[in-house]
C-alpha cells in the first residue's frame, strides 16, 4: 500500500496547488528516515485552500483534534490545525496543517507553491526550509538535519549541518565567509572539542528559542483547548465541529498570540 500521506498530498493538490508536504513525511520522501507517523502540510493561506482541505478530510471521516480552526483568521497568527481518522486497515492517520511554519520566511513560502507542477512531482518542501522547520526543541530532529544537509551543495551544507565532522571537513574550502561559530572555530585552528562545544551551544540555543516560541502558544491556547474538550468537538462531524471551533475560537483563542489586545506586537 502506498504511503497514504503521499496520496493525500496529491488529493489536496488535485485541483490546484494548495498544500506542500513537510516535516516527517518529507524526511521519508527524501529517503532519510521513517520516524513520523503523522502527516504535516504547509497550506496556502487562503479560505479556498482551507475549504478544500476540510472537504478532503471530511471524505475520510476525519475528526478535529483539539487545535485551532482550519481558518486563515488563526492560521495567519501561526496556529496549527490537527485532525485524525482511521485508514481502511484501521491505522491511525493524523493530519496537521499550518500556513506559517516557523523559521520559513514569507517570500520563501509563496515560492513553495509555485515550485513544481503537481502532476509532475509530489509537492514536498525543499531541503533548506525543511531543515529550518526541523530546528525545534526536540533533540531527535538534529541528527536528521545532519543527514538532510548532506543533500545540499557543500557551502549550504556547511551552514546548516549538525555533524561536527562535516564542519571540520568543509570549513577550510567553503567557510571563509561563514559567520557560524563552529565554522569560525575551525578556521581559527581550534581543537575538535572546541568545535563540538560551539556546535552544542548553537543547537541548545535553537532548542531554547523554539521552546520559548511554543510556550507563548501554549499559554494562549489553554482556555480554548479546555473548552474544546468540554464541548467534545472531536466527536462531531467535521463540518459541524469546524463551525463550533470557529465560534469558540472567536471567544477564547487570540488570532495572533504575539499581538496583545491593545495591538502591541512582540517579535516571534
Amino acid at each position: 500500500m502506498r504511503n497514504l500521506y503521499f496520496e493525500l498530498t496529491e488529493e489536496l493538490n488535485a485541483e490546484g496547488v494548495i498544500a506542500v508536504l513537510a516535516s516527517g513525511q518529507a524526511v521519508v520522501y527524501y529517503r532519510i528516515s521513517m520516524m513520523s507517523k503523522d502527516g504535516d502540510w504547509i497550506l496556502r493561506e487562503t479560505p479556498e485552500a482551507c475549504r478544500k482541505a476540510l472537504a478532503v478530510l471530511e471524505q475520510y471521516g476525519a475528526r478535529y483534534r483539539p487545535s485551532a480552526p482550519l481558518d486563515v483568521r488563526w492560521l495567519a497568527g501561526g496556529w496549527s490545525s490537527h485532525f485524525e481518522f482511521a485508514d481502511p486497515e484501521g491505522r491511525r492517520i493524523r493530519c496537521d496543517f499550518v500556513t506559517r511554519p516557523p523559521r520559513v520566511a514569507p517570500e520563501e513560502l509563496s515560492g513553495l507553491f509555485a515550485s513544481a507542477a503537481p502532476e509532475e512531482a509530489l509537492m514536498v518542501i525543499g531541503v533548506e526550509p525543511l531543515i529550518r522547520m526541523k530546528q525545534t526543541q526536540r533533540a531527535k530532529d538534529y541528527p536528521v538535519i545532519g543527514e538532510l544537509a548532506r543533500l545540499l551543495p557543500p557551502e549550504r551544507e556547511l551552514e546548516l549541518t549538525t555533524d561536527p565532522d562535516r564542519i571540520l571537513n568543509l570549513a577550510s574550502d567553503y567557510g571563509k565567509q561563514s559567520r557560524r561559530a563552529p565554522v569560525r572555530a575551525v578556521l581559527a585552528g581550534s581543537s575538535r572539542e572546541s568545535v563540538v562545544v560551539e556546535l552544542a551551544r548553537e543547537l541548545d540555543q535553537l532548542q531554547r528559542q523554539d521552546r520559548a516560541r511554543l510556550e507563548v502558544y501554549k499559554t494562549a491556547a489553554a482556555p480554548y483547548v479546555r473548552e474544546f474538550q468540554a464541548a467534545n468537538l472531536g466527536a462531531l462531524e467535521l463540518s459541524e465541529a469546524h463551525g463550533r471551533a470557529c465560534e469558540l475560537a472567536e471567544r477564547l483563542l487570540p488570532r495572533n498570540p504575539w499581538i496583545s489586545e491593545d495591538g502591541d506586537g512582540a517579535a516571534q
Partner: protein, 68 residues
C-alpha cells in the same frame, strides 16, 4: 560520522515500490505505540504533553470534594 543507522540510510537504495512496502510495514508496526504517543508531534500545541482536562462545573467540584 553518519548520524543515522545503515538501515535508515538504505532507504536511498530502494525502488519506489520497495519504499512503499517498507513504509507500510513500518507504519503497521508503529501502530503498536499509538497509546503512548504524545498528543502532538508538530505544530504549536506540542508542549501540551497532556491535554488540559475540561473545566469542572462548581457543583461537580463540590461533589468530588465531599466524596474524597
Amino acid at each position: 560520522m553518519e548520524l543515522l543507522s545503515e538501515d535508515d540510510l538504505n532507504l536511498k537504495d530502494m525502488t519506489p515500490e520497495e519504499l512503499d512496502r517498507a513504509w507500510d510495514l513500518w507504519f503497521d508496526l508503529a501502530q503498536t505505540t499509538n497509546d503512548f504517543d504524545p498528543p502532538y508531534t508538530h505544530g504549536v500545541f506540542v508542549l501540551f504533553d497532556r491535554l488540559p482536562q475540561p473545566a469542572q462545573e462548581p457543583d461537580e467540584r463540590a461533589g468530588h470534594e465531599e466524596s474524597s
